[in-house]
Amino acid sequence: MDLRFTPEEEAFRTEVRAFLAAELPADIRENVLLGRRLRKDDVVRWQKILFRHGWGAGMWPTRFGGAGWSVVQQHIFDEEGAAAGAPGQLPFALRMVAPVLMTFATPAQQAYFLPRILSGQDWWCQGYSEPGAGSDLASLRTSAVRDGDHYVVNGQKTWNTLGQYADWIFCLVRTSSEGRAQQGISFLLIDMKTPGVSVRPIVMLDGEHEINDIFFADVRVPVANLVGEENKGWTYAKFLLEHERTNNAGIGNCKRELARLKQIAAGQRAGGRPLIEDQRFRDRITQVELELMALEITNLRVLSKAHREAQPAGPEVSLLKIRGSEIIQRLAELQMQALGHDALPYVREGLDAGWTPDPLLSQHFPAYAPPLSGRYFNYRKTSIYAGSNEIQKNIIAKMILGL
């Protein structure tokens, strides 16, 4: 047993910290730390900065322009980035489509798409779920029918995250209805500017536009945009899933939000004292803090095993997903609860970059307050998306426990 990072890893942490201190723009940092709405520009700007530093894609192999980091280095980078208020890099391009492209795409596809991802030039989104195919993804019905050098795509994708900004979407589409449901699925890359693609916003419960329905009406997609073989898409999708989930406990974000919770509770007053000195509230913080202490080690155990074996982590990542989502939800809940009746106002403009409360409101409504209730609401999604926690428990029961 050795819980220490290696000297090389500690040196890397120092390097990351110095980089963040020097390069992370103050306005982006403020938006992240206050939980405000991030604009497309924030995310893209940060990706370009990372790219210029050679860190556009930490864990990609160097031959594709990545930094060639180990999972432990990536963990350190994520943790330091979260603490410093760096935006998380969106997974859709870097951690989802890219590994599929690297493994299954043609050299031409790789040469075209990967550099554009790395540099922040292309924004990708995911076209998996459909109205009738959520957890049961294999029942998807969006069809791609071959017509000469094109597929003609028709159907609807839903629960699409941030597709309103996207240049490209990677889709699972049905190219055959023969055999098992899994067998007729293909993995297709679609330019969002293609005629027939339309995006309909789905407003989330916090009033924000974060997800979409994507409609395909006779969308003509060049056959050249098929990844791998036709009808083998399910294989690529499973491969993607394995890679997506290696690092999904979100320890860095949880640690940042725990610290913020304590700051907020230190600032709020109850019964004439700082709320954090209220034993009940303090114990509620403690309970989630203990869970997070444990999960941080559990996460490192999973990572160090994956690192050692040079394999994607196994089904134990389901544990990380379940507890990680529960912790971030609970932190958001306690942040809201800390506000007392100041959780009630819905001050939408308070989510905008640079907002300062008007003098009246500022008597009780500090800059950190406006996003908190909405974020509590919004974070209910974390136990639903990326494989609901029920699905994760099914996975544990089947893959780990053999039930």
Binding site: L205, L275, G340, P345, Q363
Partner: protein, 376 residues
Amino acid sequence: MDFRYNDEQLAMQATLQRFIERDYGFTERRALAASASGFSTAAWTQYAQLGLLALPLPQQFDGLGGGAFDVMVVMEQVGRGLLLEPYLTTVVLCAGLVADAAPPAMQQALLPQVAAAQCKLALAAYEPASRYELAQVATTATRSTAGWQLSGFKAVVLDAPSADAFIVSAREAEGDGLSLFLVPRTAAGLTVSSYPTQSGARAGDVQLAKVSVGADALIGTVGGGLAPLEKAVDVAIAALCAEALGIMSALNQATLAYLKTRKQFGVAIGAFQALQHRMADMYIAEEQARSMAIIAADRVAGADAAARRRAVAAAKAYIGQAARQVGQEAVQLHGGMGVVDELIVSHYFKRLSMIEQTFGDTDYHLARFAQAAPVP
């Protein structure tokens, strides 16, 4: 012993159910929440016609003399329909306080107006530093020749933007007791800022800069305002518990229906035993919450202040937790459909969350219960 609503209560329940179905569907409700005022003045008038506004008011002031269980019936439907009008604030809380503690002249002036939908009231009690403590008041009341001069700042006053008058708590000097004053919205020196709340209705901050009111603006006695204020808030909390109950009931109904219709892997998801057991837990939570709401309604009607305080604290703390469980589980079992704005489920969830933050959260009422509970 009888735990049924009586015939009049059932009639009122049916009336409100019909009203919600016909005139206050989810689409209409969303439009109202997005409108300038955040509620429907037409509905408010209808409530007067249905006798809702008069329901708990004393008969000598055009009221119907109803009790806490009559209010419970109404508030369950307020929850179910997510009604946005300031019923709780104006009728239950403020008019209740006026009926309980105000001088007869003020009662005569206000209560018939409330019953007739001619007057809306709001309670300006909490302050930036007070959190949920009604007694923690920095607003000052200074005696003047004409009466009183009030100065201070009241935060998150529910339904402030539409109120015609405010009940304001203040004290003469530190260490003195609270006094309560009726302050018309038009009083010079009174400023209202307003904002929507997370669950749709409106609230605002009220600033009082040397606001003059007459001697007849006093509600109750000088320095004796805390007891009637706390009682009125307890009555409102009992009503709020009923509102939460109505929502929990509606959420359970919606979730159960979803479990029966939504298919995954070729079967209705309600066939999965893990979900069945969680739905059973939600059912139990609702039934237990109903029992607690009944206790609270029963005790706020009684004369025993300690029993009232204990029951209301118990109900608010218990229902706060039950509502959180039911709200979060309903969202979870709805999957993605639970976190979108276009289904009522998420709105129910948000309202439940805000109810927990209103008039004291679970922790506050756990503390209150611990202080109130007799240790044998």
